[in-house]
Amino acid sequence: MPEPTGVIHDIGYQRYTGPLLGRRHVFGALYLHGLRTAFGLGRSAKAKIFPWLVVGIVTVVAAGVTAVRSQIGEVVMTYAQFADNMSWLVIFFVAVVAPELVSRDLRSGVLPLYFSRPLPRSDYPLAKLLALATALWLLLGGPQIVMFLGAAFTTDDGLTGVWNELLDLLPGLLYAGLWAAVFASVGLLVASLTGKRAFAAGGVVAVFLMTTPIVGTLSIMPSRTLNELAGLASPSTLVQGVGVWSLGDLLVTENGGAAHSLIGDFGPVYAAAAVLLVAGCVALLLARYRKVATR
């Protein structure tokens, strides 16, 4: 072999004798990395464009709503309605970010580098899922905070007014959490099926948007029960169904009666379906990565 000595840069190899952190820290590192990736932080400028465009849009909308309310006194949308109205943006955000989180790793073949480390197999998909859900929740919840601050500082009822606003805000944030959980689990599962980002993005959009016509068709069928269960067919209407059932007048204001009749007495069915959907997607995601890890 060639002489290894005489290499100028060689100041010798240092062994590491310090501690190796446990599973919780590793999970946290992977989660934070995912969350940063979702917003393009630590990535190229190109990767930042879309996430921050969406963040910009929702913030501007929230600021506009707040301004209108403080000037005219008219509530354009409640906190929970804000999440509903932004759902199409959330879909596109998931379609761009979910492939960024998982498809890219599948494509570049970096997964063997993860799975050859002490990381348990399920931690990788779970950390990514949690990162995506957090990103979505921040996307929907952040602007609600803006709306809350605007309302709290312009309220005429003093502390009572602030307290009432807070009581309106919290269900809104929870509802945003539901959107985040459902959209993140479905979106990440779809994206994890392919390493091609364009296919993954198309797949995510297809699952969320192509199911809407099914809901439309079912809701004009000549059966009231079928109409009321139609919302189960698409993730967006499913989440809205749970919202209508649990939040009631926080979500449905003026035409409340009409909206409530959309799901009839099937509120608990919607809630159970949402839980099952999330659980099913997570289970499939874990199964998917059990298979990927042994490649």
Binding site: G22, S108, G109, P112, P120
Partner: protein, 304 residues
């Protein structure tokens, strides 16, 4: 301490493909060459050693631990460099290796320090702040090696580290692996389908074919007492062969050459004497080292 030990290790894939068949081998710490043709079962063996695949039957121990039950503990002490492309193109080498160091459990600042150290040891300096997508194949291989080193493992598993490199790149990579094995105090298992390459750097050689063990031994045991003298005469090869045999020298024909085992310096004199007596035109008389490949060739002619 035994570094890696397997006992009747067998792996049969779903389709009935037998990747490993009754493989029993034990190796000591050092640089180990694992050679075999493509599809011989090298990558399957590595995945079992990492605990990523469960063996169909048989037992395996790595660093005294069982990767089938204790895979996290094994993986904490092992670094793995995969054969195929494994680098996301838009991250810089520094970011990627730091991130993977944290996934191995290094604290944040330690991960950053050790990542730049590891990249420096493999010969990447300012380049480490550029996206990996723009790297040459040689640089990518170095990044893959650096990420395997970042958490200071006790054993490195390198799957075809010289894949896709030009001759100079191969030499540099082999020199690096040799340095890791000798100076860093880290044992290395190098997989390759090129015997000539790994035999230059390893202490122990394990050869597998079709999932079966061909041979495992110290390289010194394989090459010792195998020095031969190659004699070439332009005519009278047969007569010389007969004369040398009469002198109690073990002689083999190899095409136009006569190969004579070199016992000591007296062998030279005997051969020269024989050539002079027969008055033959001598073309060549030189010493050759037995290549390990020839050992395998004579043992397992069907796999040569």
């Amino acid at each position: 301490m035994t570094l890696i030990a397997t006992e009747s290790l067998t792996k049969t894939y779903g389709g009935g493909v037998r990747a490993l068949a009754d493989l029993t081998v034990a190796v000591e710490p050092g640089i180990i060459g694992l050679v075999g043709a493509n599809g011989a079962g090298k990558s399957t063996l590595i995945k079992i050693l990492l605990g990523l695949l469960a063996p169909t039957s048989g037992r395996v121990r790595v660093l005294g631990l069982d990767p089938t039950t204790d895979s996290a503990a094994v993986r904490a002490r092992v670094g793995y460099m995969p054969e195929h492309d494994a680098l996301p193109p838009d991250l810089t080498a520094a970011e990627l290796v730091t991130h993977l160091g944290r996934i191995s459990g290094l604290p944040r600042t330690v991960a950053r320090e050790r990542a730049s150290e590891a990249l420096r040891h493999v010969g990447l300096y300012e380049e480490r702040y550029r996206p990996v997508g723009g790297y040459s194949t040689g640089m990518k291989q170095r990044v893959k090696l650096a990420q395997a080193l970042v958490h200071d493992p006790d054993l490195l598993l390198l799957d075809e580290p010289t894949n896709g490199l030009d001759p100079a790149g191969r030499d540099a990579m082999l020199a690096l692996v040799h340095r890791i094995g000798t100076e860093f105090g880290i044992s290395v298992l190098v997989c390759s389908h090129l015997l000539g390459e790994v035999e230059r750097i390893c202490d122990t050689l394990v050869a597998i074919d079709g999932g079966r063990l061909l041979r495992a031994d110290h390289i010194s045991a394989m090459t010792s007492a195998t020095d031969v003298l190659a004699v070439e005469v332009s005519e009278g090869t047969e007569e010389l062969s007969a004369r040398l045999a009469a002198l109690q020298l073990p002689v083999r024909r190899d095409g136009r050459l006569l190969l004579v085992e070199l016992a000591d310096d007296a062998t030279y004199d005997l051969i020269l004497g024989a050539v002079a007596e027969l008055d033959l035109p001598l073309h060549r008389l030189d010493q050759r080292r037995h290549r390990v490949a020839e050992l395998f060739a004579t043992r397992e002619p069907s796999h040569a």
